[in-house]
Assembly symmetry: C2
Homo-oligomer: 333 residues x 2
């Protein structure tokens, strides 16, 4: 008998990545199409569905071999109903994406926020495999967050919860994209680190940091301040100490609230590995509430890397409790 | 047939309040005994169990009329196993309180943190009645927090979660009792407000605040700064504005994480009612993540008042999912 597969779809503002995933959550085939955001959602989802069907056919699978499909999307998602309530990246408001995709893929279709998917993916197959409760933070343009409790995504009471990048962190009156000041992501995202490093480099043309960016702060990336610190640069060290202090405090907040088994960090900054996790773990042991008696989770680096989107989305199919309303939808055929 | 009842027990450092609660969650009889903390837990729980049995007998109930008992306790509680992991107030470490109490009350015994109980009590019968998802903050000596999701207490992955008073808030390097600096409760507890008001009064003997405390800052309470502000006192207004700003930011964090239907405030400061909730609700509408598209909960004042401990504890029996391990314990008889 032919083995069953899952479809994982990573919907982004620029591209849509589609993968066929086997029961071991390995990606056995993948494709990518352009989102061309700005079109109607019906057009975008028609492309998505047809590309998924083509990928299946190309690898000798039919839709009958497919248990279900998961879609990870940026923005605020109503996962119970498979609706994109709001997404700035793909410019969608109130789009019934799961129902629309089922017109092409007549299988159970699940949908969640991309950071939630990545969190679930790390529990299903990744750095948190074997754990039931995990907190996930992605340190990228902003800070995305996902919480897995008892093996399923924790979504809070209403869509728009678990915005872990949008908890108060510093006091420099940094304006956040969400409209508030001083959210965690204004201090601890990759973007924040790069901004701080640009400023520091401009002020210190004598620094290693200034050399590393080729004397052009516009070329700064999130790795340079870590490299400068490693080289003993005072500016680099100050930047990294400050960055890690803010991130550490954000993680302590998340531990004090969710008390997960493990904390997983994803996103570009995580290439730094132990330079990031060692000081974070030291800080957590001393600063989490009731650290001497309560469980203090270890902070580790995500493992799914650039497969996180597809694996995370595919893992929705088997790991998430089936949203009751979608369960009731009869198969379209 | 005789109506069934519940027992609610509010375990505190000074006293243990015990109530018989009917199916409408009304307290139909109550008593209070001294905790005499410092004794062995067996002694304290023997008193607790015997007092509950005596209260039942006095009101013509037998233990057979009792569906179960709930205990709310300060500290870090392992609610799955009914164990007080750590409680500074009653000086207990790793006490199997639920199992011990079952020696006296051979009914299902549930146990949780007192703030979690109060949160559940407000959902069962109180300010959040009819809602499935609620966040509860008690503004007292510290800040206790409880989260109800889908009608049951949300506990996070391990005991010691949902410490909503221990998320980062300000930047004045205020040392928190938990060991960290600048937790929400160092700015927004009743204690914090009183400390700030004492300092302000000492600096401003020309203020209404100074008069209100009888020119003796040691007499300051949490009501005086509100009264001073109401009377137009510059010092009072500054204090209340600052207090509400910190509290508002803490609540926005909680909304961004849990996105509840409603936010309930308890504790002494809440006697201020609309003076507190009106500015908080205005701030939430503007500052919650995705406020224009996502659900922004209303902030309301708790209703159970000084009955919160007993009602909350009793509500554990019917509202909390039955902890699997306790479920397996055979009745002792």
């Amino acid at each position: 008998m032919k083995k069953k597969v899952l479809i994982g779809i990573d919907l982004g503002g620029t591209s849509i990545k589609i993968g066929i995933v086997n029961a071991e959550y390995e990606i056995i085939a993948r494709t990518s199409i352009r989102t061309n955001a700005g079109r109607t959602y019906e057009e975008v989802i028609a492309d998505m569905g047809q590309a998924a069907l083509a990928l299946l056919a190309e690898h000798d699978f039919s839709i009958q071999d497919c248990i279900g499909a998961g879609v990870g999307s940026p923005g605020t998602i109503d996962s119970q109903n498979g609706v994109v309530l709001y997404s700035n990246n793909i410019r969608w408001d109130n789009v019934p994406a799961a129902a629309e995709l089922r017109k092409y893929l007549p299988v159970p279709v699940f949908m969640d926020n991309d950071a939630n998917c990545a969190a679930l993916g790390e529990v299903t197959k990744g750095a948190a495999a074997g754990y039931r409760n995990a907190a996930f933070l992605t340190l990228g343009t902003g800070i995305g967050g996902g919480i897995v409790i008892d093996g399923t995504i924790f979504g809070g009471g209403h869509p728009g919860g678990v915005e872990l990048g949008h908890i108060l962190n510093g006091s420099e009156k940094r304006k956040c994209t969400c409209g508030r000041y001083d959210c965690l992501e204004t201090y601890a995202s990759a973007t924040a680190l790069i901004q701080d490093a640009k400023k520091m480099a401009r002020q210190h043309p004598e620094s290693v940091l200034w050399e590393l960016c080729g004397k052009n702060p516009e070329r700064m990336d999130a790795k340079m301040p870590f490299d400068a610190a490693e080289a003993g640069d005072v500016c680099g060290r100050a930047l990294i100490e400050n960055y890690i202090a803010h991130l550490a405090d954000g993680i302590v907040d998340i531990v004090n609230i969710f008390r997960p088994d493990i904390v997983v960090l994803g996103g570009g900054v995580c290439a730094q590995g132990k330079k990031l996790t060692e000081p974070l773990n030291r800080y957590l042991k001393e600063n989490c509430f009731g650290a001497s008696v309560a469980h203090v989770p270890e902070v580790v680096i995500a493992k799914n890397g650039n497969q996180a989107g597809i694996i995370g989305a595919a893992s929705l199919v088997s790991r998430q409790s089936i949203p009751p309303k979608l369960q009731m939808v009869p198969p379209l055929d």
